[in-house]
């Protein structure tokens, strides 16, 4: 079944403008409408995720005949859940349980953490959440054949990159980052989260970080993006801890990661254009950076 996604990626590699655009964007364009962004509010994280999965189901789920799903969480730091440095484990657990109920049993959770993998996976509570649902995390720092080199269509700073193969070989990909302050990239949300799926992040830092993030978004287009904004670290990110915490109690859901990032950025800044990689990604035509260009559905979860 992996053929389907591989075929899609091959299309991307061909770098013809049409093929490089995610099915979601094609769909959106076909309807002549703007990408949808669901902003789900609620204090109970399990209910939030239930609502989120309900919307996903009503929008065609993860696609047809989906057997394998690769989930990119953020488990980069050896920090407790309340810090907001990693994706909330309660959300992760609820997502995994929900997806399993939908009949997708083969779920992969690869992560190339920043701090020691062992400490990051345990302190974040995400390994436990995975284990509780019978899912194994894949530590991309261990020895093994994790990565495959790919060309980036239309890459300006990032022309090729070694990506964890699991995201290319699965039928569906979901990105589930946490929204937080970031010292180097200003904010870390969806697009920035993909740095934990590649082998050599250092290259990005040496070669125009914002452009690399935008370039990679051209290549990696997840089926769904779910941004955890239940709590947001407003300073000292990405690792924290920070005394400056806010609790928006939100999940931001979209098929378009640029739109999701743009909306989430308004929790921190006046305009999405304050975050350079969002601006660059929008300029590449990967999605809207202006809220007027999206269909925003505010929902109580």
């Amino acid at each position: 079944m992996s053929v389907k996604r591989r075929g899609f990626l091959k299309g991307s590699l061909a770098a013809t403008a049409a093929a490089a655009i995610a099915p979601s964007l094609l769909a959106a364009q076909a309807e002549g409408s703007k990408p949808d962004v669901w902003v789900i509010h609620g204090k109970d994280k399990e209910k939030l995720m239930a609502k989120c999965l309900e919307i996903i189901k009503s929008q065609g789920g993860f696609g047809k005949n989906i057997k394998t799903l690769a989930l990119k969480i953020n488990a980069a730091w050896a920090r407790e859940p309340e810090t907001g440095a990693n994706t909330d484990p309660v959300l992760v657990s609820a997502f995994l349980a929900g997806v399993k109920k939908m009949g997708i049993t083969d779920i992969l959770m690869p992560e190339n953490s920043c701090a020691s993998p062992k400490e990051s996976f345990t302190k974040s509570g995400i390994e436990e959440a995975a284990k509780a649902n019978g899912v194994k995390m894949i530590d991309l720092k261990t020895k093994g054949d994790h990565f495959r080199k790919v060309k980036i269509p239309g890459g300006e700073s990032l022309k090729d990159v070694e990506v964890a193969k699991y995201f290319m070989d699965s039928d569906a990909v979901v990105n589930m980052p946490v929204a937080k302050h970031h010292g180097g990239a200003k904010l870390s949300m969806a697009m920035k989260n993909w740095m934990g799926a590649v082998k050599d992040r250092g290259y990005w830092h040496r070669n125009n970080l914002h452009q690399c993030i935008a370039d990679f978004a051209e290549f990696m287009k997840p089926t769904w993006t779910i941004i955890d904004a239940t709590k947001t670290m407003m300073a000292n990110g990405p690792q924290g801890p920070s005394k400056n915490m806010k609790y928006p109690d939100l999940l931001i859901l979209s098929k378009n990661q640029v739109a999701a990032d743009a909306w989430a950025s308004t929790l921190f800044h006046d305009s999405p254009d304050n975050v350079l990689y969002i601006k660059l990604a929008a300029r590449k035509g990967l999605g809207p950076s202006r809220l007027e260009d999206m269909n925003i559905h505010k929902i109580e979860g």
Binding site: C114, A115, S116, G183, Y203, R206, N208, N236, Q239
Partner: protein, 401 residues
């Protein structure tokens, strides 16, 4: 002569101990076990007493050396004949020996006292010569950790082993300071006087050899220009300061073996203080000292690396980061980087924004623990790492945030 049955039981016991202690060296899941062997001699314990004038061990760890002393007082070299794994290896080699006499005199007493006196001057010869530290040192290659600088101390033990193919039991009967101690402790009332005269000779010999030896080692620095003067090596957390650490460390490398991040290593001598040579050292190019990790503190058999609770370790400053602006991607190449800020677990990197809005790192020294997370993660390549950790003269507990 021992009877046949006793001989057989003894052989089995020795083999059992050899296998057991080798198992401890290999036991990755319970690294603290590797501490048992060096701790069952007396030298590891006395090290802190001689150099620091205190014994900083939990009472539990006094049982093993206590047994050693008790056995020695009652029966002499019981430990050597029944337990010591190095002795077992040496005995095995001696079986196939050429039986040449390279060393005629028993100089173990002189070695012992020379070791003691040089240790008072912080040159830990007797810790290094301790057969138990020699055995524990084998833990590194047994675990596949090949660190070039540790080959030299390792070669010392291997050379000794090879020597036994030439002269049987040369170490145990002529050189071993631990064996000497065991014999020394056995009080034989009938020959007390003649023994005393011999011991006095050995003691004086030890002073004559040990003190000048230590002084020479310490003073190498005054004879040659010490390039590292004023710089301090980055030591494991709990080592406190260079002199104390090098005096207490038996170079068993249990800490290097157990370090999960790989930051702990050993380097070739890079300063003129021979007393500190081949002691473990941190290299933040190889890893970052884990914020929640106290593994090395738990395995050190001599207390050279103090025992620390996780909380205490987190507030201990072992070094200070320094930004090399000329090599820095943010300061020089105007890149959005701040990886050091990102990786710092202690919020010790401040953001200085350039006029064109590019964030640049500045170290808040009062918050920096010297863990090396920044240096390890720094992506700068052209002129090497743009942020490096310098060791401090004395490790201190920070009271700030």
């Amino acid at each position: 002569m021992v009877s046949r049955t006793v001989g057989k039981i003894r052989l089995l016991t020795r083999l059992f101990c050899l296998v057991l202690f080798t198992g401890f060296l290999l036991a990755a899941s319970l690294p603290q076990l590797s501490r048992i062997l060096p701790q069952s001699g007396v030298f590891a314990l006395t090290a802190s007493f001689i150099s620091e004038k205190n014994i900083s061990f939990p009472a539990l760890w006094l049982i093993l050396p206590g047994l050693f002393i008790l056995a020695a007082v009652l029966r002499g070299r019981v430990f050597c004949l029944w337990v010591c794994p190095m002795g077992t290896l040496f005995s095995a080699a001696s079986k196939y020996s050429l039986k040449w006499q390279l060393l005629r005199w028993n100089i173990a007493g002189t070695v012992f006292w020379a070791g003691i006196f040089s240790s008072i001057l912080s040159v830990p010869v007797f810790l290094f010569a301790d057969p138990l530290s020699q055995f524990t040192r084998l833990g590194l290659p047994l675990n596949g950790l090949l660190i070039p600088a540790t080959f030299i101390p390792l070669a010392f033990s291997l050379a000794l082993l090879l020597l036994h193919f030439i002269q049987p039991m040369i170490w145990c009967s002529k050189l071993c300071p631990l064996g000497y101690l065991a014999k020394f402790l056995k009080r034989d009332k009938t020959r007390l006087l003649s023994k005393f005269a011999k011991e006095r000779r050995e003691l004086i010999g030890g002073i004559v050899v040990g003190i000048p030896l230590a002084l020479c080692a310490k003073k190498l620095g005054t004879f040659q220009r010490d390039k590292s003067a004023g710089k301090y090596p980055l030591l494991p957390p709990g080592a406190v300061r260079t002199q104390r650490f090098s005096a207490l460390c038996m170079r068993c490398y249990a800490c290097i073996k157990v370090c999960p991040s790989g930051i702990l290593t050993a380097k070739f001598p890079h300063n003129a203080d021979a007393g500190s040579w081949f002691a473990p050292e941190m290299d933040a190019d190889k890893g970052a000292c884990g914020q929640y990790c106290v593994e090395c503190n738990r395995v050190c058999p001599t207390g050279a690396i103090n025992f620390l609770e996780e909380k205490a370790k987190q507030s201990l400053q072992i070094g200070v980061a320094h930004v090399r602006r000329g090599a820095c991607l943010a300061w020089t190449d105007k890149e959005y980087c701040m990886v050091c800020h990102e990786y710092c677990p202690f919020g010790a990197i401040d953001i200085d924004e350039s006029p064109d809005g590019i964030p640049r790192p500045v170290v808040k020294e009062e918050l920096c623990r010297g863990c090396g997370a920044c240096q390890y993660a720094c992506p700068a390549k052209r002129d090497g790492k743009a942020i490096i950790i310098n060791g401090v003269e004395r490790q201190n507990f920070l009271h700030a945030g």
